[in-house]
Point group: C2
Chain length 144, copies 2
DNA sequence: ATCAGGGATGTTTTCAAAGTCATGTGAGTA
DNA sequence: TACTCACATGACTTTGAAAACATCCCTGAT
């Protein structure tokens, strides 16, 4: 469904959100350990998220990553997916056709549209804030 | 969403269905040309479909692939996906966790369940017969 | 100004999916 | 029986995402 990068990105963003809510700035090592991801690879993903203004990075001693509390509710899952995997999951044809449209639909075009719209709706309506709250409350988990 | 193999498998099955409806048995070359897929790779996919009883193969001169008319309505998209990609798309966790369940859900578990159920419903309710009919009627296309 | 902590960036390496090639096997035909 | 057509099978190669490695650069503290 999503690329590995995107999966890590979602996990990392949620973890950073949880920590930011408690006023903590977190470093790469922390994040990689907490979401069980390869450190070097995670670094790249965090840089990408940082470029896309989804998270903030601070260099130097006591540096790390954080998310502004004021922005947390604004950040939706869809933004992370878009930043990591592009819009292929929203626009791409179910059978991989480059040109698949209402005018010239592939055999599963209409059927997939329904599912994709449901997916899009879900991603656009799910905020990182909500996900981080569930995690803080112990309703969900970031391991296993 | 699906592997390349699965995309080809769906396209191939639909094409074979269309031809079978007109009483034609089709060969590998025909299929590969029609769905614009690499021939050798397509051969493997057809063999897999054949093993899973989704299509029938006939060896020798005037051999080829076909689908029994009587079975065509019974074959659903879900069977092809299952044969090619396994059940990961139905069961797999949105964040890639090996153990993700109601008991120990990942942060997006519930949200994904809705989307996945919609996908499953769609795949289980879409028959190859219906898709082949749309193609025959010129409502859908297998190229581009 | 220097030093160390920690993020940023470019280059390899690894591995599974995608795709190719060579050869085997069964079926129809003469 | 011999030949040929077309599917079957397994080993091999290629490609690109995932992951690892090495190095650079910015920042705060002393």
């Amino acid at each position: 469904m999503f690329s590995k990068s995107c999966e890590y990105a979602i996990k990392a963003t949620i973890y950073i959100a949880v920590q930011s809510n408690e006023g903590n700035r977190v470093g790469l090592k922390d994040i990689a350990r907490e979401i069980a991801s390869p450190e070097a690879f995670t670094a790249k993903i965090l840089q990408q998220l940082s470029k896309c203004r989804i998270i903030n990075s601070v260099k130097g001693p006591n540096g790390g990553f954080q998310i502004d509390k004021s922005e947390m509710a604004r950040i939706k899952l869809s933004q992370i997916v878009l930043a990591m995997d592009g819009d292929s999951i929203f626009k791409g044809c179910g059978l991989g056709f480059k040109e698949c449209s209402e005018k010239k639909p592939c055999p599963v075009h209409d059927k997939f549209k329904l599912v994709r719209n449901e997916l899009r709706r879900m991603l656009e309506n799910t905020s990182i804030y909500d996900l981080s709250m569930d995690l803080t409350k112990g309703l969900t988990f970031l391991q296993r």
